[in-house]
């Protein structure tokens, strides 16, 4: 589980769905959640929360991204790699640590190695918001 501290910039609701714009370590991020703001007393602009998302949901890209629907793009350097037969766990630093688990097949195809610059991509609906405790 990736846990990133973030500041809430603003949020908007439509029915039970909330879209929340955040700033995490200088990068803007978007989270879409299903909840009621009344039940989340920590959801206030300027407030600080944790952004949580699973490492297996983090996509990695190298070089120019072209046009992508993804809002959450964290550009950083690979700091470590744990290579298994099927999966590889990759740690990236963009001011804070992020973990991505991708197939070893993809990691090989992309020639990923420690020190390389990559962009970690996360869909907005994969990010949960949590209270900092």
């Amino acid at each position: 589980m990736n846990v990133l501290k973030a500041e809430i910039l603003f949020f908007k609701t439509s029915g039970q769905i909330i879209i929340c714009e955040l700033n995490t370590h200088g990068e803007t991020a978007t989270a879409v959640i299903l909840d009621s703001p009344a039940d989340m007393d920590y959801l206030t602009p300027g407030g600080h929360v944790n952004m949580l998302f699973k490492a297996t949901e983090v996509i990695l890209a190298v070089g120019d991204l072209g046009t992508l629907s993804l809002n959450n793009r964290f550009k950083g350097k690979i700091t470590s790699m744990d290579t298994g037969d099927i999966f590889t766990s990759i740690k990236i630093d963009f001011g804070t640590g992020i973990e991505s688990v991708i197939t070893t097949k993809s990691a090989k195809r992309m020639n990923l190695e420690v020190g390389m610059e990559v962009t970690a991509l996360v869909k907005a609906n994969e990010i949960a918001i949590g209270k900092i405790i």
Partner: protein
């Protein structure tokens, strides 16, 4: 409206404690007392019904005092209009289904309607020994209703039944409650049951009411926004490739979850864990 504010010395799993029970239940509501065995849940039902006396305090039902230690008021059991259903049915073995209801009924004309309401018309001349657990509990529920109670007290009524029967009877009870609107108090240690039936829950631990509110308020961890959340116990942790596979018991189901090294490293077998995912992720399929 039921207003309980009493103390009672009880024996719990961790020794004797003075339980201070403050419980308010709106008229027509469905309230659950939730907690482990020996926490004091059944005692609260017995105090309300008049089967046990509090050491101190006051109990009011619809504004009328039924117990007041200081003023020496103690309305007897048979005047409190409480219907009881126990886990072990407690039916009269020598009487048929119909006779069991007639014995308890205030008006024999209602008996057939109640038998029909719980779907036992075909079996009304049977004796309890020839019925299944689910059928016996239907009779026990109908018999409790035959006395036209103002309050229905259910003490783990479905705990001895298998999962499918429990599910069916929970639905029937929900239907009966919405039809008759009798104030109902259910003792349970099944979160799913409480969520399904109750609009208010009191969580009781070792004689202390630790929280109360709607089931969502009492049971849901509000520190994470995930809408698909379950608590479970870790049974097994296995390394697979560069990941870890956790086997987690959630209620009576077994789940497996993939965890990364960082997630798995501070978890050991036997730990209670929160499993959650975003409401966007689960796929839904009719079964």
């Amino acid at each position: 409206m039921i207003e309980i504010d009493v103390t009672k010395r009880i024996k719990t799993a961790t020794g004797e404690v003075d339980m201070h029970a403050v419980v308010d239940i709106e008229k027509g509501g469905f309230c659950s007392l939730f907690g482990k065995s020996g926490a004091g849940k059944t005692t609260i039902l017995r105090l309300l019904a008049g089967l046990t006396n509090p050491d101190d305090g006051v109990i009011r039902i619809d504004g009328k005092i039924v117990f007041d230690k200081k003023n020496g008021i103690n309305i007897p059991v048979n005047k409190r209009k409480c219907g009881f259903v126990f886990q072990d049915y407690a039916l009269f073995p020598n009487m048929t289904v119909k006779q069991n209801l007639e014995y308890a009924s205030t008006d024999k004309k209602n008996v057939d309607t109640l038998i029909e309401m719980v779907g036992m018309t075909e079996l009304k001349d049977r004796k309890p020994a020839t019925l299944s657990g689910g059928q016996k509990q239907r009779v026990a529920l109908a018999r409790a209703l035959a006395a036209e109670p103002e309050i229905l007290l259910l003490d783990e009524p479905f705990a001895a039944l298998d999962a499918d029967m429990r599910f069916t009877l929970q639905n029937e009870l929900k239907e009966i409650h919405s039809t008759l609107g009798i104030t109902t108090i259910l003792v349970s240690h099944d979160k799913g049951e409480v969520f399904k039936l109750a609009n208010k829950v009191y969580m009781i631990n070792d004689g202390v009411i630790t929280s109360h509110g709607t089931p969502e308020e009492v049971f849901t961890d509000t520190t994470v926004s995930g809408k698909f959340k379950f608590t479970g116990r870790v049974l097994k942790i296995e390394k697979s490739d560069c990941l870890f596979i956790l086997t987690v018991a959630v209620e009576s189901e077994i789940s497996t979850v993939v965890a990364t090294r960082t997630e798995a490293e501070n978890i050991t077998v036997g730990d209670r864990v929160l499993l959650y995912t975003k409401a966007f992720n689960p796929s839904v399929q009719k079964i």
